[in-house]
Amino acid sequence: MWIFLLSDWLSFAGLLLAYGILRAESPVWRHPGEPGLNIPFTALLTLVLAVSSVTIIRAYDASSAGDRQATSRWLAVTALGGLLFLIGQYAEWVGILHPGLLKEGLVFGQSAYASTFYVITGFHGLHVVAGTLYLLVTLARNLRRAVSANEVELLGLFWHFVDFVWNIVFVLVYLIPTGSSP
């Protein structure tokens, strides 16, 4: 699993490297008229993923202890964290209660700022989708017949990786100042 995660990380590293080069070369990263990113809201999503990293550890512990019911409960809570994150990302991109970035003028292909944002957060979002499906499938299997602690451990490693990458994306894409006024 570590080898798979390492190779997956190199995909992210390639994207982040391209992002770093484009950003370093660009005299103006965020052009006038382009919306800024909502840091407090995204910090909340980061917290959701951090909590889900803890709940997957509890799922693994329950599985190791042979407590099938608790395993299912913690897997369900972790999957809920993944779903909440995805809903949050949808709200950020498209908008639910407020207009999303797409409606505010952050259009893919319009600038390096917009394109790298959608590619990097979208690629990570695909990992969250895959992780959430993985969680739901494991949960369904556990409800029928107990899954082994090793299976939950591998799932946990993947889910931790999703959180690990998000922490880096959050800082590099959202937090490093753009040096442009809104």
Binding site: L16, I57, S64, E153, L154, I168
Partner: protein, 106 residues
Amino acid sequence: MSADAGSAKGHHLTPAQTWVILGVLVVLTGLEVVVAMSHGSRGLVTGVLLVLVIAQAAYFALVAMGLGSETRTMKQLVAVPLLIAAVYALVLVADAVWRAAGWVST
């Protein structure tokens, strides 16, 4: 939570340790947000954020993901490509900054 599929025993964390992990992640994320929203110079804020994210990533990989309790070979297997990639990134980003500043004729 660290082993591969063939492992007989994994890396167990007590409930107290999991709360410590969550606490550290929340505190580091909070610090990052505070630093990002501060009115310091752009270079200083970027530098501090990079230090914080490297610390957070290392803590997460070593403690939460359990890389710290893996074998030395496994640690090296993960760490060496990461270090090479980091050096490569540093060189390419520095080159991009160099070019953007007009210090190199293209």
